[in-house]
């Protein structure tokens, strides 16, 4: 079996069919049974009232106006008014409730997607740029929410209304009812036909739009080159052609729509005309009452308006469903199974004895980044890892953090295979300061507690020793801090969990010498009796480590103390001399 990090979601998506999207969406709605039930009840009430209104109007004509019964008219008008109030109240209520339902479902799915993304293996993030994943949490969720706010309730009540009207017509007068709805199958067929055509031309328009966008984006990226070679005119012409092609495709969707609506109008007209002729004759002959016929007029109108609305909003529904499908597919991505406790507890009695035993690793199964790596770090000692860019230093640490799993060999921590440790608890036990410091916008204190809300005096003391104030607000990615300050914050952040083992990946690469001194002092005080692994590009940093290993292209080539390595006059000595020349 392939390791999990070879899972490419785009590919997987095109493979997977999602027949269950609608079902899963309904399931998500059923998570809020109270709102759903109440909302549906209100829809039923509202629809019922809407159905009775036209009938009551006709009934009032037959029972009060034609027989000239004033008292009866007052009664019926009051009932009519009551019906209107009930209907409007129910409509407001169900619209609000369904909006609430939509928000609840959206929030559930949003959190579920985000939580899923937190538990995906890191290798997944290497393959899928953050921007692409972000659209799952933002755009797709918004498209889904649109289903609800565009009037899921209206759609449902419209559908109910159509069904209800059909029933009312048949109940009031079976014969007339059948005549009125005789155009219905024809219209349904036309709607289906146009919808299909519409879907086709939408797809075409979308693909042409993305061709335009791709070319525009490419030009924006290469605008300098376009200018240098004075190619603006030619490229603009091509862009304009692509734009026109898109416009043409859009045109065909408009044309289809332009056919669809008049079709409904014509059908409604024919239906009314049939009603006028047959119904009118029936009324003349006294086979039905005039009021019933008038109710029929109103019902026919009520029959076609919801259909028009449904046709108008169908598009939003389709794209919302497509988004839902993408969202649910995120929830199917395989994750790392770890503890989910809010604050991962570090392993209490970790000694910090680490053994790499013939470890091989490749990110892509082809090019080995680490080859047959074996070394041992006794508990409580300091190891320096040096090597040129791309020699595998950072990868080695990623394996120790269990960001990735080695393909061959094993890593032992206190004599136990690393795979037996829970990832989150393991990471909480290791104090990692990474090379590319990533800070979140917020205060220094928030960055250190990672927004867990707790702050303790010990970390404040550490900050003080490092010369930082915890209240300082950081802009995006800590842009308003110097690189050195950022690294100090990262250090304080790692210190937060009182790690048993310190892992420092280029901790002082861009720090000024004074801050470096401070950091060293704090680290020395902290790390007494603890294992420390230090990666450094600058060999001056690792000089003091008792043991230094030198990596070259994924292999361990030299090991020993500084003096011994220098006298070997190998890679280490050369690296050292070169770096000294840089000053």
């Amino acid at each position: 079996m392939k390791p999990p990090h070879h899972f490419d979601f785009e590919e997987a998506e095109s493979r997977m069919a999602h027949p269950g999207t609608a079902r899963r969406l309904f399931n998500a709605m059923f998570q809020h049974p109270a709102i759903l039930t109440l909302g549906c009840t209100l829809i039923l009430v509202g629809t019922a009232a809407a159905l009775v209104e036209p009938w009551l109007f006709g009934f009032a004509i037959d029972q009060a106006i034609v027989p000239k019964n004033s008292a009866r008219l007052v009664q019926l008008a009051m009932v009519f008014l009551a019906l209107i109030i009930i209907r409007v109240a129910a409509t407001i209520g169900d619209a609000y409730l369904f909006e609430a339902l939509g928000q609840a479902v959206t929030q559930d799915l949003r959190v579920a997607v985000f939580s899923r993304l937190q538990r995906l293996p890191l290798a997944f993030y290497d393959k899928n740029p953050a921007g692409r994943l972000l659209t799952r949490v933002t755009n797709d969720i918004t498209a889904l929410a649109d289903i609800f706010s565009a009037g899921f309730a209206t759609m449902v009540s419209n559908a109910l209304l159509v069904a209800g009207v059909l029933i009312m017509l048949v109940v009031l007068s079976p014969q007339l009812g059948l005549i009125t709805v005789s155009v219905f199958p024809l219209m349904a067929a036309a709607t289906v036909h146009f919808s299909r055509q519409l879907a086709r031309s939408y797809r075409e328009a979308r693909s042409r739009l993305s061709a335009f966008n791709a070319y525009l984006a490419e030009n924006l990226m290469g605008m300098r080159v376009v200018h240098l070679f004075s190619r603006q005119k030619v490229h603009l012409q091509r862009l304009s052609r692509l734009n026109q092609r898109y416009a043409d495709a859009q045109m065909s969707t408009i044309r289809t729509y332009a056919f669809l609506q008049p079709t409904i109008t014509t059908a409604a007209g024919v239906s009314m005309a049939l009603l006028l002729w047959f119904g009118g004759n029936d009324a003349l002959a006294g086979r039905i009452q005039l009021g019933v016929l008038i109710s029929f007029f109103a019902y026919t109108l009520a029959l076609f308006r919801p259909l028009r609305e449904i046709a108008d909003k169908w598009n939003i529904f389709l794209s919302g469903l497509a988004a839902a499908e993408r969202i649910f597919s995120v929830l199917d991505w395989p994750t790392e199974e770890d503890s989910t406790e809010a604050q991962a507890t570090p392993y209490p009695d970790l000694k910090g004895h680490i053994i790499f035993d013939n470890v091989w690793f490749a990110y892509d199964d082809e090019r080995w980044v680490l080859r047959n790596l074996s070394f041992e770090i006794p508990a409580g000692t300091r190891l320096g890892i040096v090597g040129h860019t791309g020699s595998g230093k950072t990868t080695l640490i990623s394996l120790l953090m269990r960001f990735y799993e080695p393909q061959k060999g094993r890593i032992l921590l206190d004599g136990k295979d690393l795979r037996e440790y829970d990832r989150r608890r393991l990471r909480a036990s290791l104090g990692l300061v990474q090379q590319d410091v990533f800070l979140f916008s917020g205060s220094v204190a928030e960055n250190i507690s990672l927004f867990s809300g707790k702050s303790d005096t010990a970390s404040t003391t550490v900050l003080e020793k490092l010369g930082l104030s915890d209240g300082k607000l950081l802009s995006e990615r800590g842009g308003n801090l110097s690189m050195g300050e950022r690294q100090l914050v990262a250090f304080a952040r790692a210190h937060e969990s009182r790690p048993r083992i310190w892992i420092l990946d280029e901790p002082t690469s861009s720090i000024d010498s004074e801050s470096e001194l401070r950091l060293e002092r704090v680290l020395n005080a902290e790390a007494i009796g603890k294992t420390v692994i230090m990666i450094a590009h600058r060999l001056a940093t690792t000089r003091a480590c008792g043991q230094i290993i030198v990596l070259n292209k994924g292999q361990l080539v030299e090991a020993g103390g500084h003096a011994g390595l220098m006298s070997r006059n190998g890679l280490y000595a050369r690296l050292f001399r070169y770096q000294q020349s840089l000053g």
């Binding site: 407001i92 609000y96 609506q261």
Partner: protein, 602 residues
């Protein structure tokens, strides 16, 4: 309202351009809405003839009339969709065209400032919002207005009293709209804000996922996300509270009209005081009132379209108000076909637009025709800035930079850039074929003559011809996203070939050989010396190997020229920056050789 006028002013051009389509569209729309008057009258006549016990043929005529009206309306409905909606689509096409044309006219400093993703968002969703406003927005508004024009008149003609009755609840509507509009706008903005906060959090989290995982901070992040999401939902509901009631309340006012009609109209018929008020009129009124529900809702719809497009028009206008800081002077001096390639920097200062400090602080240097001059210096010393001024990618102060004795600002841009073959350090190739990329600057000529020898020669000079011949379909190989991926060195050499194909008098290479191996580099530099039409060469590099062969080397330090001379001269100064570069390079090469050796041994 002021805002609305401004936005409309912004769109006037597009509306005016399609005035014919819009006029036809509006005429058909008027017809549809005008015809809406007829069906209720047909119903009235039907009901009245039934009560009067007329014969069936009258009903047949009425039925036929009904179908005729429906057909007319269908045709006109088709018409206004085709004319009005098409206009909005054409206008958005024009807007997209104008937008891209405008961007193509802006200079590098604009693109340094703006993110591509943001510009793409403008080109897509913002223009789309404007389209919706022109199309659906204006259309529904016009539709509603016409309804208001026709139907009350028809009602008045049938029965002024009943019309008044039906319209009693009407004044609530403007009040409802005005009151709601402001509140909705405010709450809508709050929802948008919280959504963008949520998106920023997710964005930060996803790009910092390594840190989050490394510190086992997933749960805390999730809690933060959940909290923000909840706030977002809460604000949405806050908006919903004013928004959801809007439509039903509009409906309510019209339905109240129906109730009034039933009671008061019914009483008048029963009283028999008014002969004109028949049961038919009553039915017609019922129908009219039902019809009025739509324009009421339409006002709400077009308001929401307007709301969405308001921000978008603002954002678009912001881009349209940007102007290029690099433009031709009104009467550029027309130059000879080829320059001699004499370049003169006279106390040249430069800072990037918007920056606070100068990158170049007084450069003085004269480059003689035919000379190869090299620039070295630390990162940030100003090499790239200096070289990017030669093709005038950024604005250059008058009187500081001359080519052939003519101020660079007096050169027509297109001529200048034909003379200066500039190759930047960030490689950009288009996702087209190799030949199209290399012939980028001479495409017209290649197309006209069908001659690709110039392309081959340029590729040969840039040392990439053999690489290309080794590709699957040689010069027709497609590059980029769906094409082959080249190595960094191959890409660099292709961009050099692209510049060489135009046979520029002055060749500017800004660290453009950094990914090319040393042997190939040596070969390229040698052949460049022998190229036809060779003139001045300006080269910036980090590697000593690239520059040691230059006629003169200028060492840049903090925006000034610190050392100037040949390699042999500079190397004698042991305290100079150049010697340090040289020594570093030597040790580095030693190290790299050892690393490769080490690798082979193990």
């Amino acid at each position: 309202m002021k805002r609305f006028l401004q936005d409309t002013f912004f769109l006037r051009h597009y509306l005016w351009k399609y005035r014919r389509l819009i006029t036809i569209g509006l005429l058909t729309l008027i017809t549809v809405d005008g015809l809406e008057i007829i069906p209720p009258i047909i119903l009235k006549n039907a009901v009245d003839s039934i009560t009067a016990g007329a014969d069936a043929s009258a009903l047949a005529w009425l039925a036929l009339a009904y179908i005729a009206v429906a057909l007319c309306q269908s045709v006109c409905r088709y018409g206004w969709r085709m004319y009005l909606i098409r206009t909005s689509m054409l206008a958005s096409r024009d807007l997209r065209d104008r937008f891209s044309r405008h961007l193509f006219g802006l200079s590098s400093s604009f693109f340094d400032r703006r993110r591509i993703g943001d510009l793409m968002l403008l080109a897509t969703s913002d223009i789309e919002a404007v389209r919706m406003m022109i199309g659906a927005g204006i259309l529904t508004l016009a539709d509603a207005l016409f309804y208001f024009l026709f139907i009350p008149v028809a009602m008045y003609l049938l029965s002024p009293e009943l019309m008044l009755l039906a319209f009693i609840p009407l004044p609530i509507i403007p009040w409802l709209v005005m009151r709601n509009e402001k509140e909705i706008h405010l709450r809508f903005a709050r929802v948008q804000e919280s959504l963008s906060r949520l998106s920023a959090l997710a964005q930060e989290n996803l790009s910092g996922i390594r840190v989050v995982k490394g510190l086992a901070g997933e749960q805390a992040q999730l809690r933060r996300f959940r909290d923000l999401g909840e706030e977002c939902s809460r604000l949405s509901m806050h908006l919903a509270r004013v928004q959801t009631a809007f439509g039903p309340l509009l409906d309510f006012t019209m339905s109240m009209g129906l109730a009034f009609l039933l009671y008061f109209g019914g009483r008048r018929i029963i009283g028999g005081a008014d002969d004109a008020l028949t049961l038919g009129v009553f039915v017609a009124f019922q129908r009219y009132i039902q019809q009025m529900v739509w324009p009421m809702a339409a006002v709400g719809i077009s308001l929401s379209h307007y709301r969405r497009s308001a921000t978008s028009t603002g954002r678009l206008q912001e881009i349209f108000s940007e102007t290029s800081d690099v433009r031709d002077v009104p009467n550029p001096i027309v130059q000879a076909a080829r320059t001699r390639g004499c370049i003169e920097f006279r106390n040249l200062h430069f800072r990037h637009p918007g920056a606070t400090a100068d990158v170049l602080k007084g450069i003085n240097l004269t480059v003689k025709p035919g000379e190869r001059i090299a620039f070295v210096g630390m990162v940030g010393a100003g090499k790239s800035a200096l070289l990017s001024l030669l093709p005038r990618l950024y604005p250059v102060a008058r009187g500081t930079l001359f080519i052939d004795g003519v101020d660079i600002n007096d050169w027509p841009l297109e001529d200048l850039r034909r003379q200066v073959g500039y190759v930047s350090q960030d490689v950009f190739l288009f996702s087209e074929s190799v030949v199209e990329n290399v012939a980028f600057g001479i495409q017209d000529w290649v197309e006209r003559s069908g001659e690709t020898s110039a392309v081959h020669e340029a590729a040969e000079l840039a040392g990439v011809h053999e690489d290309v011949m080794g590709m699957v379909s040689s010069y027709d190989t497609r590059l980029g996203e769906r094409g082959v991926n080249l190595s960094g060195g191959q890409k660099q050499r292709l961009t050099i070939a692209r510049a060489l194909a135009r046979q520029p008098a002055i060749l500017v290479l800004d660290d453009a050989l950094s990914s090319v191996d040393i042997q190939t580099e040596e070969r390229i530099l040698k052949s460049l010396r022998e190229r036809p039409h060779r003139n001045t060469e300006i080269i910036a590099a980090h590697r000593i190997s690239t520059i040691q062969d230059a006629d003169r080397i200028a060492v840049l330090e903090d925006g000034r020229i610190a050392q100037l001379g040949t390699h042999a001269e500079l190397i004698t100064d042991r305290s100079g920056l150049y010697w340090r570069f040289y020594e570093q390079q030597r040790l580095r090469e030693d190290l790299e050789r050892y690393m490769d050796l080490d690798q082979e041994l193990s």
